[in-house]
């Protein structure tokens, strides 16, 4: 059996766990912990170590989705998680401009670890105060050819679209 993996990364609270949960056929293996630091207590739990989702194609092919922890103190995990990946998704919370710089740096770091195709997903586009895609594109210093996709991490069709766009880039790269 062949297993391939994709990585879902991005700053704290971007929606990575939610994204994987939306399409995974197994419950995302929980490495969630209650948030202890006051500053980050915008939600109840955060991912430590990693998220892990699975999509089985058939007996011979399985796709694993790995979600990285968002908190900076876990960035030592990135390089290990990126090893041998097919491609990656950088999620950015469209309502949190304070995380854009970090998203940019995470993107750069992953491109360096393992230069595979990637897409950027702007999550929480359904929320009030979400930035427009064109503005996010500039703030993240994306190139014209970089794919930046609107996303609502709980919406299955939106999540599928992000994955399909990434696979499409991968297919193009293979020629």
């Amino acid at each position: 059996m062949l297993t391939v993996k994709m990585v879902v990364t991005g700053p704290f609270n971007a929606g990575k766990t939610e994204f994987i949960q939306t399409v995974s056929e197994i419950d995302v293996v929980s490495t969630e912990r209650k948030i202890s630091s006051e500053a980050e207590r915008v939600k109840e739990t955060t991912t430590v170590a990693m998220d892990f989702g699975r999509i089985t194609v058939d007996e011979e092919l399985v796709l694993y989705l790995f979600g990285t922890p968002g908190q900076k103190r876990f960035d030592f995990m990135w390089e290990i998680l990126s090893e041998g990946m097919l491609g990656f998704i950088v999620m950015v919370d469209s309502t949190a401009p304070e995380t854009f710089r970090e998203a940019r740096n995470i993107l750069e770091a992953f491109r360096t670890f393992s230069p595979t195709p990637y897409v950027v997903a702007a999550s929480k586009q359904d929320k009030e105060g979400a930035w427009d895609l064109e503005d996010i594109r500039i703030a993240l210093r994306l190139d014209d050819e970089d794919k930046l996709l609107p996303c609502v991490a709980v919406d299955k069709e939106a999540v599928k679209n992000v994955l399909l766009e990434l696979l499409d880039s991968i297919l193009k790269e293979l020629g």
Binding site: V4, R101, T116, P117, D168, L174
Partner: protein, 273 residues
């Protein structure tokens, strides 16, 4: 959509970068702890700026620029109180007090100073509203933002912040060639020109620093300014592995045609979810 937030999270430099590169038209309101300001942009160029605690009327601006005397200022303040800047400007030009260029030059320098002050604000809230034009009767100017952004970024002193902005010195630089932007027209200083002259995908930022004998702080500051002004972009260093090479590690020992077949099966599967 209203663009709003906190300057601690999204700086004035980043805001001007965004307004410039997205050719935005609208008004930027900034409320700092002790002062407020607003700036109006037309298609990514500064058209007008005002501090909340200064009236910034044309006579005051001309006086500040030494284009009119104390006595003239007093006369104008008494006699022309009800006039708009546009009306007054026309009157002054016709009366031979000042030239049109005097007026525009004084306004440009006044507005530029206001923006330079904004760069020093690190606390405060901002809000950008689309399609807001300059107040009735005021005189618009048209100032490209590149020079202002370069000037603002020269004041960056915190190494930590610069390191965060330009983390990887192994990246290379390339020119962005945006329409309407001519690098020769931007006011760069000698150090900046030296860096610009070595920009080439073959040279990493680290190489350029070495050649120009700049330390980490200096090179990062210059690269940061050029990036924010939209004059250059970061590119993969020459000879870095390509995406195709990266992909091969995901499918060890699988032929290219078969790889494509696998990706197609993944696509089919995800479509069916």
């Amino acid at each position: 959509m209203a663009l709003q937030g906190n300057l601690r999270d999204f700086t004035v430099t980043q805001l001007l970068n965004l307004i410039n590169l997205a050719n935005k038209t609208g008004s930027l309101l900034i409320q700092g702890p002790n002062a407020g300001a607003r700036a109006i942009f037309r298609e990514g160029k500064l058209a007008f700026a005002q501090l909340a605690n200064e009236n910034g009327s044309l006579p005051a601006v001309l006086h500040l620029a030494d284009k009119i005397t104390d006595a003239q200022l007093r006369t104008l303040e008494q006699r022309a109180a009800g006039m708009s800047d546009k009306e007054l400007g026309l009157l002054l030009i016709n009366a031979g007090y000042v030239s049109q260029e005097d007026i525009l030059e004084s306004l440009r320098s006044y507005f530029t100073d206001i923006i330079q002050q904004l760069f020093t604000w690190v606390e405060g809230r901002f809000k950008f509203q689309d399609d807001q034009d300059i107040p009735e009767g005021r005189i618009p100017v048209r100032i490209a933002l590149e020079d202002m952004i370069m000037q603002g970024s020269r004041q960056m002193r915190e190494f930590e912040q610069l390191q965060y902005e330009v983390p990887n010195l192994d990246m290379s630089l390339a020119f962005t060639d945006r329409p309407g932007v001519n690098l020769k027209k931007v006011n760069l200083n000698v150090e900046e020109w030296r860096v610009v002259s070595y920009i080439n995908p073959k040279n990493s930022i680290r190489d350029i620093a070495k050649t120009t004998q700049m330390n980490d702080l200096e090179i990062r500051r210059i690269v940061y300014g050029l990036l924010q002004a939209g004059l250059v972009k970061l590119v993969r260093p020459h000879g870095a592995p390509t995406q195709l090479e990266g992909l091969q590690t995901a499918f060890p020992g699988v032929e290219r045609e078969e790889q494509k077949g696998l990706v197609n099966r993944l696509i089919e599967r995800i479509r069916s979810i």
